[in-house]
Symmetry: C2
Subunit: 453 residues, 2 copies
């Protein structure tokens, strides 16, 4: 791994050009579900309670209000990744599930599309499937986020639940097709992430998204080692079937668990005794071994977009599994993904230090279910058992303490999103276009202004 990264670094050192007048770039890093709780979880684990993340050293920090509406335009206080990525990408406040479409269900031009039309190069990187909500919203337009491929766009059933599909987006109805079909032909110079299953999904004898991309001369990458080389023209890298495996996991695959309650405590929760779950050690996730890291994808994309380019570029990078692992109550998974985000940010900062007109922003799309709670409870002196009604993960931290994470927004296997405003970090280029408090749609405006669009 070390050798591969060094090789990539050498290529970048050889190929990035000094900035020329007029050249501008925007790098927007979206930590999915990366709210202040997850930022703090990452800080406590990766740097210690008194330490600082690379994020914490950025000169600009603000807060962003997330907006969502229903079909009547009424405020909805908790978002999903589709409507929020759409707001970041287009400035439109929209309904849950929409990808690149406004509340009235009309396609809206994205910052990436405007940048491409103006001659900027463009790129999308994600640790999810590239057809997932956050990456898709920058270059595709469908009514429901599940319309990821030519089969699912027709609706169907997933986890025993029927979903409608997107009839108005079907090509035969004059639409632009599913997300993978749209990405295959979109004017995007580089797309890297997971999601091969959505590019090979086939409806009857229609061409797959992969075939559509190949017809356009797009170079398709599927192996990590391919990122050590340079390629010309459009590139799509698909390194896993769907979401990419994450870097870390709890030892023995452990995630948050329920408290164990004694027989008496089941009779009445004020009596008997309870046993907290054992402490979890975070460890490397073996399934991650064959994956390119977020940093590696970022370095490749930066090289690809900056090579022979005196106009500049727009690049969006999603760290998807902070959210996905928080849904699953897997705190180690979320923390390992935050580590990946930090490493990708370091690569972006390194690029910006050589290329001053580069605006780097890091934000979240919405907040998430995890809470850091006391270990033990604040109420140890009470003579009754005190415990979370949800599930808890007690994470051993490298500084020798225990960080207890509570997941208690619902009773099913996937937690809810939450509605707190989210953080925004930027390098000093942000100071001219950002404010301490913004709405998510204002970030779209800021990017457009920075790119003079």
């Amino acid at each position: 791994m070390r050798n591969i990264l060094s090789a990539a670094a050498v290529i970048i050192a050889m190929t990035t050009q000094p900035v020329v007048a007029g050249e501008r770039a925007v790098i927007l890093i979206i930590g999915d579900g990366f709210d202040d709780t997850h930022v703090t979880m990452g800080r406590n684990y990766l740097k210690g309670q008194a330490g600082q993340l690379l994020l914490d050293q950025m000169p600009f920090r603000g807060a962003v209000q997330v907006e969502t509406v229903d079909s009547e335009g009424t405020a909805i206080y908790v978002a999903d990744s589709a409507n929020t990525a759409t707001t970041l990408a287009t400035g439109a406040v929209t309904q849950i599930g929409r990808i690149g479409k406004n509340a009235a269900d009309q396609p809206v031009k994205t910052v990436l599309e405007s940048a491409a039309a103006a001659g900027y190069k463009t790129g999308i990187v994600s640790t999810a499937s590239v057809t997932d909500a956050s990456p898709a919203a920058f270059a595709a337009h469908v009514t429901i986020r599940a319309c990821e491929n030519p089969v699912t766009i027709r609706g169907g059933e997933k986890y025993g639940v029927t979903f409608d599909g997107c009839p108005e987006d079907l090509k035969e109805n004059g639409g632009m097709g599913s997300i993978s079909e749209q990405l295959a032909v979109a004017n995007v110079d580089v797309i890297l992430g997971g999601g091969m299953e959505h590019f090979i999904a086939q409806y009857e004898s229609d061409p797959t998204a992969l075939a559509l991309a190949q017809q356009q001369g797009v170079t398709i990458l599927t192996e990590r080692v391919a990122l050590d080389q340079q390629h010309s023209g459009r590139v799509i890298g698909l390194f896993s079937e769907d979401t990419m495996p994450v870097a870390w996991r709890g030892a023995n695959g452990r995630i948050a668990e329920s408290i164990e309650r004694s027989w008496l405590n089941h009779i009445h929760e004020m009596i008997g005794s309870i046993t907290q779950p054992e402490i979890i050690e975070c460890e490397a996730n073996p399934s991650f071994a064959e994956m390119p890291s977020m940093e590696m994808m970022t370095r490749y994309a930066l090289d690809h977009l900056s090579r022979d380019n005196d106009k500049g570029f727009f690049l969006t990078i999603e760290s998807a599994s902070i959210d996905k692992k928080s849904h699953e109550r897997d705190a180690c998974g979320s923390i390992g993904e935050i580590k990946q985000l930090e490493e990708a940010l370091a690569a972006a900062m390194e690029y910006a230090s050589d290329n001053p007109n580069t605006l780097i922003m890091v934000t979240a799309d919405h907040s998430q279910a995890a809470q850091i709670v006391p270990d033990p409870t604040l109420y140890t002196s009470l003579p009754i058992p005190v415990f979370s009604p949800g599930k808890v993960a007690r994470i051993a931290t490298p500084e020798g303490s225990v960080m207890r994470i509570n997941y208690a927004t619902n009773n099913i296997s996937s937690e809810e999103h939450t509605g707190a405003n989210v953080p925004l970090f930027a390098n000093s280029e942000g100071e001219s276009v950002l404010s301490p408090f913004m709405r998510q749609r204002d970030i779209y405006d800021a990017m457009m202004r920075y790119l003079e669009l």
Copy 2:
């Protein structure tokens, strides 16, 4: 109420002086438990999802890492209000429960004490008892926060739990006495809030804290109307027995409730049906009627501290019941308290607009249990009942929507604190001494630097 406030405003207009060279003031507003979730709850309710609080319009915004240690110095990831107020007041990172004492249990000089020694006037305002953790930590020093008065300092029992008291702080053991006894004689020009019961608590024939204060010539105020007048010398205002009643409550006193589960759902939570609690309307709390508002106390304190004073002052103002009502799962109570904080901030900003060398900061001591969760769940399409394992309050917002607040950190009648980093807001004076990311102890350093101490 309107007339009283107008009268107060007139007095201030007559008495505040134009700034003179060297005059400096710090106003530190602590929203207890006022994390990004509570800020967002306040914004959504008071200004609407697309609106802005007065806080949101402040030119500086950052994040603050909360630090706590145990007796060995090991990191503890969730704080209480005693150790965090102590860190803000003294720069010392300390143990849970400590008031103005470091981790080794030694008294540490506070910013208020340093300011007073240098000739600044000083003040403390709180909507809690003035002997509660956040106000006390600026002018008192005891080992355990419960040592609020001459009786409790000897230990005892509260809610069926025995507590130790603070033997080393007893006057007969060479200590400084309980919190109320220390405040009674402390060099603080104005102290306003609740807490009369701690000033009249008497141990054997010892003088009460109230008697100690009166011996020193302190003017004691007990009625709201007294704040319409000016007083000379030291003033202590005690307007309620303990914590002051809050401005708002849920109609019919309703707070968050459990989901109602059908008979079948009790057999297995994947079957049967559930009923969410009815929507709650927030309303004025009748018991607040006789209380001075936080704004009124703030205006009085600003007048008292700035009158005939060419040195400047240090004033700390605590909005205590954001936290206290969040512990009780009373979302309307927290929101009404946030409204009070905004009104007090407006009074402070008005003062600063006439007195430019005034640093105003608003921060929180620690984060709190409330979460904004989807209403309904994100998983409506699942054919099973989905519900919070904790308690939920569904708050009707003035913009015609429903904000659902989840409280699910434990099974007892008082929620846990949480461990996310907290926000920091400041006026433009903050730009010279604050950074986008700080530790709580850095805020102490910034105040000392601003006051040239």
